[in-house]
Structures are given as C-alpha cells and as structure tokens.
C-alpha cells in the first residue's frame, strides 16, 4: 500500500495533529518520484513514529525548478520589500499559534525536553521570523560620490535559488538535527526577507517538524515555489542539492567532514556558500571568576540539549588555584540539574541522544577517554534500558593531545583541565582546528576585553555561555565555518551587491 500524503498522529503527550508525509514543492505535498520513503523513530523508546517520503536527485531537480520559476515570477519578485516583511510577520504569528504542535513534534522526533522546545526553541523561531520581517524593507544600497562625472549606486539584490540543508548544498538550507525549528527560522527568515527562494532539506533523523512548518508557509501566503521542503538522506538528496547547477547558493549546518564535501560539490558552478560546522569551544575560568556562576553556566554550556549544540563549551579550562573546587561543584551541579528521562516529562533536563549512531559515537568517545588516561569524574555509561540515553559524563585532567580533547563528541560530555597563566589559557583555548564559540569567566575589565580579542572564535561570551540572541551574529572561524548567521550580518549571505555606474560626462 502506498504511503499517504498526510497522517493523523497522536504524540506520547496525547496531542493529535495532522502530519504531512510528502515532499513540499510548489505549495503542494507530493510523493517522491521513486516512491522511496524513510522511517523516523523516537529516540526516547526506539519506536517508529511514521514513514515519510524521501527525496532523490529527481525530486531535488523538480524542487529547484519550482524555486527558480518562483524567483522569476512577479508574484514574488515584483512585490515590495514591505510586503515580503508582511508575509514573514504572518508566518511568525502562525508559528506562535502552532507552538504546541511544533514543540511536541520536536520532542517526539528528536528527544529534546518539551519544556525547552516550547519555551526556548519555538519562542526563538518566532523572534527570528519577526526580526527578519523587520529587515525586509531596510536592506539598502548606497550611492557613492566619486565626482561629477558619475552617478554610482549599489543595488542589494537577492542571490536567487538558495539551498539550505543540514547536509547538502544547494541553495537550500540544510539544517541540523539538533534544533530544527530554530534552524529553519535562522535559514529561511533572512533568505526570504532579501527576496530569495528556497529549497530546504531537513535532516533524515528529524524530518517531521519541517514538513509541518511547510503548511504554515503556505497558509501565510507565500507564493508557490518560494519555499520548498524536502526530506531526504544527505548522501542522495543532499548531494544532489550540493551539485545542482541551477542553485545559486548553499547554506549548510552540520559536521565539518560533511561540509568539506559540500564545499567541493559547490565548486561545480561556484555557488556561494555559508557553512556552520563543528566546534570544541573552550570555557576559561580565571582565578577571580565568580565560581558559582561559572559552574552554572559551564554546566548548561555543555549539558543543554543533550550536548548536541555546535557551540557547546565542551572544553573547560580552570585556573589551578580553583581547579579542584570547580570540579567538585561542577559534579554536584550536574548530579542535581541533569535529570535524565522522558523528554515529555516536566522534570526532565536531558532527553535521549537523537539517534543510535550518535549514541554509539558518544559511548566510543567514553572508551577513548578511559583508554587515554583521563580521570572519569562521573557518568561514562549509557543510561537506562531503552532509548538512546547517555549519563552526563565528566572527564578531568584531559590533556591537549587527547582525542577527547580535540574531537567534537556532540553529547553531554565535558573535558576539563587546569592552566596557570593567562597566556597558557589562551594558547590551550586556541589549540584546536575549530573556532566557533568561547567563554571567559573573570571580573577584571582589562583581562576580559584583552582575552576576548585574542581568542580564535566567532563568538566570545564573557561571564556566560551560549547566551545567544537573534540580533547578534553567530558563526565560526577556522574549521567551524564560513559566514555568519543571525543579526544584520546574515543579510549579506543572501544579497548580491550590484554596482551601477551612470556616466555623466566621461566622453571618449
């Protein structure tokens, strides 16, 4: 029996909703050309939630054609910037109205605690859509005075068809499996505000909320083809997007390894790329730090969202004078706050990891840590009998060269070590191929600003961690990525500056 295009689902918290299962192209849900599907499971108890249609190269091609046609259609390209903003405001309102359904789907499909999904991720998605709705009629070119013989101006025009994905390129957006709704907003909002069209591929582990969101895109009034949403595997759909010659730009969030493939594939037509990849972000605690706060922020900095955060401050460097104190307090804080359990329960802080594959990876790193001789302070085991749960894990006395110090684990797994001088702290902090986030805990004004300037990171938090805001740019240096999301900075990824020179007097 062929898979229908919609299915009534009932989530573990009793919420009933109509889940689209098809690919969303031209404002319609359709079957994949090949009929191929994939199954998505709940990481909490490993049960199957549903099958959904899975896109292949043929489907990607159809979606790209739809996006291209929409890009050239007056229904999109001839509406005023303020009208584009209006559509985004409408979408924001709809996401807010459907926040319970979207948070439920996120928790069921991905394992994120429901309280967090609703209060944080959904709220932030709404904020992001509204923020970029406000930018739509504020993207301005310039006039540049070079003298009386010329009128020169720049037009800031949309780039075109954008693939956004979590694993593949295409001027589509790819989004991370860790927090889909928020990632979808981060990618869709600035692209649409600037007048582009989009093919968005969700992660194969968590396809459902993107498809649900697609319905709201249609309801908000976006013309057909402006936003297209595909479920699919990175290796097939993602690759197809990356290598597609009619995609003008790709935005990807995911692992550094996959990002390399994307960058290579993007070279087929020199498509514009932005990448948000991995991190092994340091959190430095100086001797004058407020230790209580450093412990609290240090804890959420790595344990939030099951450690599945690209900017997680997963390496903690503590001044030797407060090292053992910190470890004791951190261990206590983790034991108290990191309640592991059913993500639908209000008591839960930490749900399951998103997939079996991720779960196994983390367990492997635990074994590495033990073998390398680091000190296991707590955790270091799976949690429970069913579901992809891992005990929050703390390793201390972790040296610079250790695998667990260099590689991104992407779980509730922190490595801690000590330092004696500021220079040593900076050097240890920068001793990584990554450069996404960094945190500094100190009360001293000179140290705070000096060290912030010296850290190789796209973002530095002073006396906090992962304290992001939609108006502040987000992104990495070194192998953590290319380009910036959020804030005004995201707009430059989605516009091309065209310079127009009017000759007023240079006669040959």
């Amino acid at each position: 029996m062929t898979l229908p295009l919609f299915k009534e689902l009932t989530a573990p918290n009793g919420k009933k909703f109509n889940q689209p299962l098809g690919l969303f192209i031209n404002n319609e849900f359709v079957k994949s050309q090949s009929g191929k599907t994939l199954t998505t499971i709940s990481p909490t108890d490993e049960t199957e939630i549903t099958d959904v249609y899975a896109a292949d190269a043929a489907d990607v091609d159809i979606a790209v054609k739809a996006a291209r046609a929409a890009f050239l259609n007056p229904a999109w390209c001839d509406i005023s910037p303020a009208e584009r903003g209006q559509l985004l405001y409408k979408l924001a309102d709809l996401v807010q109205q459907h926040e319970e359904q979207l948070a439920t789907i996120e928790t069921w499909d991905m394992g994120k605690p429901y309280t967090v999904a609703k209060a944080e991720d959904l709220a932030e998605s709404v904020n992001v859509f509204k923020y970029y709705a406000g930018w739509a009629d504020k993207v301005e070119g310039r006039t540049i005075d070079t003298g009386p013989n010329k009128l020169a101006y720049t037009l800031h025009q949309p780039v075109g068809v954008c693939g956004q994905s979590k694993t593949h390129l295409i001027f589509t957006k790819k989004t991370y499996n860790n927090r889909f709704n928020k990632m979808a907003a981060w990618k869709l909002a600035p692209a649409l505000a600037c007048g582009n069209t989009v093919v968005l591929k969700s992660a194969e582990q968590t396809p459902l909320s993107a498809l649900y969101l697609a319905q709201l895109v249609k309801e908000a009034g976006f013309p057909p083809g402006v936003v297209n949403v595909l479920t699919g595997y990175g290796k097939t759909a993602g690759a197809a997007i990356a290598g597609h010659e009619d995609v003008d730009k790709i935005a990807f969030t995911g692992s550094t390894a996959t990002a390399r493939h994307i960058m290579k594939a993007a070279s087929v037509n020199l498509k514009n790329i932005t990448l948000e990849t991995g991190g092994k972000s340091p959190l430095i605690i100086f001797e004058d730090a407020d230790l209580e706060q450093a412990v609290k922020w240090g804890h959420v900095g790595i344990m939030h969202n099951m450690g599945q955060v690209c900017t997680a401050t997963s390496r903690i460097l503590v001044h030797e004078s407060v090292y053992s104190q910190f470890i004791e307090k951190f261990k206590k804080e983790t034991a108290k706050v990191s309640v592991v359990g059913d993500p639908f329960s209000e008591k839960t802080f930490q749900g399951p990891q998103v997939s079996k594959q991720q779960h196994e990876r983390i367990l492997e790193y635990i074994e590495h840590g033990k073998a390398e001789g680091a000190t296991l302070v707590s955790g270091g085991t799976p949690h429970g009998e069913k579901g992809f749960f891992v005990a929050p894990t703390i390793f201390a006395d972790v040296k610079a060269h250790h695998k667990i110090n260099q590689e991104e684990v992407f779980g509730p797994f922190v490595v801690i070590d000590k330092f004696s001088t500021q220079e040593e702290a900076i050097s240890r902090a920068n001793g990584t191929q990554y450069g996404l986030g960094a945190s500094i805990f100190t009360k001293d004004i000179t140290r705070a600003h000096r060290v912030a300037a010296k850290l190789d990171a796209g973002m530095v938090w002073i006396n906090s961690s992962n304290d992001s805001h939609y108006a502040i740019p987000f992104g990495g240096v070194k192998q953590s990525g290319i380009g910036r999301e959020l804030g005004q900075y995201a707009l430059s990824a989605y516009t091309n500056a065209k310079a127009v020179h009017v000759n007023l007097g240079t006669v040959l």
Binding site: G85, G134, K138, A471
Partner: protein, 496 residues
Amino acid sequence: MSLTQTIELPNGVKYEQPLGLFINNEWVNSVDGGSFEVINPTTEKVITSVQEASEKDVDIAVKAARAAFEGEWSQVTPQDRGRYLNNLADLFEKNRLLLASVEALDNGKAVSEAQGDVQAAANVFRYYGGWADKVHGKVIDTAPGKFNYTKQEPVGVCGQIIPWNFPILMWSWKIGPAIATGNVVIIKSAEQTPLSALVAATLIKEAGFPPGVINVISGLGRVAGAAISAHMDIDKVAFTGSTPVGRMIMKAAANSNLKKVTLELGGKSPNIVFDDANVDDAISWVNFGIFFNHGQVCCAGSRIYVQEGIYDKFVEAFKARITKNVVGDPFHPETFQGPQVSQLQFDRVMSYIEHGKQEGAKIECGGGRHGTSGYFIQPTIFSNVTEDMKIMQEEIFGPVASIAKFKTLDDAIRIGNNTTFGLASAVHTTSLATAIDVSNRLKAGTVWINTYNALHHQLPFGGYKESGIGRELGKAALANYTQTKTVCINLAGGKD
C-alpha cells in the same frame, strides 16, 4: 466636564470621542478646566469641545514622561518596544474606518483619502517597530591597548508638536521613531484638529505601552506649544508647521535649555516640466502635486514651471484636467477635494487669490469660493506669474497653482532655487541626463522625477534652507531621537 462624548458621523459610524488629556495611560481634565471648540470645516458648525492643556498640564505630562523614561521604560528591551509598535499598527488597521471618519469630520479631507492616511500611519508604526532592535553602535579600532565603542542612546523626554493637515499621519511620523529608539513623548495635536489624536490615544494602553511613555494632549500652539518649547525638562522638541512658528520654537529652545530641535516647515516647491516630458503623465502628477489634500501640503508643487515649447499645450490640458477634481463633502465617495481646514485658512487663501489678481497674474480657472457653506475654494490656476509676485514667493497652502514658462535647463534651475524654502521639487523629463543634472542642482530635500508627492515610510523627507532642520522617515529619522555615547576603555595601564 465629561471625558467622552458620543458622536455619530455622516457615514453611520458611531463612537465615543475622548475629550480629555491622555497622561500616564489615563484620561484627565485640564488642571484649570480650560477647553476649546472643535469646528467641522464642511458645515462650519461646532462638533464638540475638548480639554485644553495649559502650561500646568504640560508640566504634569513631563513629570509622567520623565518618570517612565527613568523607570519602567528604561528596562523594556528593544524587541518589546518593537512589539508594542507592531501592536499599535495592527490596532490602527483594525480601527481604520473609525480613525479615517473622525479625520474627515475634523479636517475636511475625503474619507477615502483619510483611510489612505491611516494605513500609511500603520505602515509607519510597523516600519519603526522593525527598527527598534536594529539600532547599532559601532566598535572603532584606534590602537592596540584600547577598546572603543559607541552606543546610540535615546534623547529622553521629547515634545512633539504636529500640524492639522495630516493629523493622524503626522502623529505616527513623530511617535514611530521616537518610541522605537527608547524615548518617551508628549505629543500635542493641532488646535484645529485634535480629535483623531485622542481616538488614537485609546489604543496606546491596549498596544502594551507602559504609563507615561506616550502622552497625548490637545492645546493651543501659543500656550501648550510654547510651554513645550520652553520647558526645562524636555530634552528635545520636534515640530511640523509653518516657518514663522518654527522660528519661535527654535528661539524658545535656545532660551530655555538648548533642547534639541528638529523642524519640518513650509515649502514653495517647484514642479518643472521639460519639453521632452510625457505630457499626459506630467499633467496627472502636476494636478496631484498642487490639488492633493486641498493644497494643504508642505511639499505641494505650488510653482509650476513649463518649458516654453509645450507651455500653451500644457496649460490647456491642465485646465481640462482639473475639471475632473471633484470638490465636495468629504463623506461622499467621489470627493477628491474637501473644504480648507478653518475660517482662518480659508481667508488666507482667498486673500492670496486677490493678490494674484491684483498683481496681474492671469486666472485660467477658479479664483473664488466653491458653494455657499463650508470652507470650500475652487481649484485655481494662475498663469503668466512672474518671479517677484507674492503668489510665486509665499506659501499659500491652498488649491492655488501658479504657472510660468522657462527657456533652458539653467533657467529652470535658477528659478527653481529662487526661494527661501527648499522642501521638495520635481522634474518631468524622459532624458536620463536632464533628470540627473537637475536633481543634482536643485536645493531641495526631495527631488521627484516623473512623479509627485511620492512619500514613503522608507524614504527620508525634510528640508533644505528655511524648510527645516533634520529628516523624518526612513532610517534617517532615528538620528533625530538618538545621541551617540562614545565609550573608550583603556586596556594598557597608566599614562607613563
């Protein structure tokens, strides 16, 4: 005195008209109990009386605003400021017919035009709501060992004095950028048109604004307006109105506490038509340029200069065009031109028409009163107007067009700039070079090319010369309501 009155409008809209002063999110009577009458310019009859703010009431409003600025409002995030402005936009759209009908009753403009004004006001709120969380300072790298940044901070308590020609639209132009950037306001409507501002004030609390952030008062320019300009605890005054009053406000600001001043004043804007223009299009814009809003527009294209090659053809076509401008009751759907706003304005315009006749300009059409009741004036065209004539130099602010011919582009520029004003201007041509050359050389805050009165919330608007100080609308308006604080942090130790 009761703080509201039930009013039923000619189009059936029935509503509660607030009559009091809106201070601290509450309706109050004036301290001394003063009030003034509001006249309907279509019927010349009294609509109602509203509370009149005296110096004492201005003082109360300032105290409320200051308390809000130093207190609750200072803790509200930029995002929330934007959210409240967006709510206000939604409420304006929801109440569009009501606000437009009140505007038509009080100001005399057609309801259809007023609906456009209310929608434009909603768009302004939404636009500035979107700016609230996007006002950035800078980080400036001067040398190693230093960390420098600037912040754009609100100015503080802002007094805003608005005119009677676009009451509700001007209300939005002032409130939008001031609130978005974190200021608090006391806004005084024009004594001729207080009603729509008071109806709009009923939406402020619902939109979510804390008490004291937006205070709305009715009052006389020479009393409440003067009190605002001279107040020692108002940080900034923004005024839209006539140039003579603008001068008084600037003086009062200087004599009191050197409060910041921005002014949108008068204009006598040139509307220039070249031989190579598309004449039909130009006529439509020239007509709109002077007769829109009954000529009561600061940037009205009231001086029309037509190149001699098409002059005769143009004048005939223009005369024919204005016969299509329907003059009548603002509540009638066909009406384009309603009455002038008041007896005083009616008398002024009629007196300029007399001057024109006496100075020897030729009346092509109009030149008299329209009908027998209400402040209606016939759309009037004077031709063969010379530069020195009063009707060519002074702002009439009525449906009176003055036309003259010109020879060359250089003549057009010289004549166009021959004025103490510099608000707007327009050029009609199909030539790329002419358009750029003329727009470069005209001394005006806006140059329209092949259009007129094309204002938009995204585009900065304001005057050169005696037409004003500062720009409204667009991102530029934010500068009127922010001040730069430079913070310079030394990371490098002692002086030696």
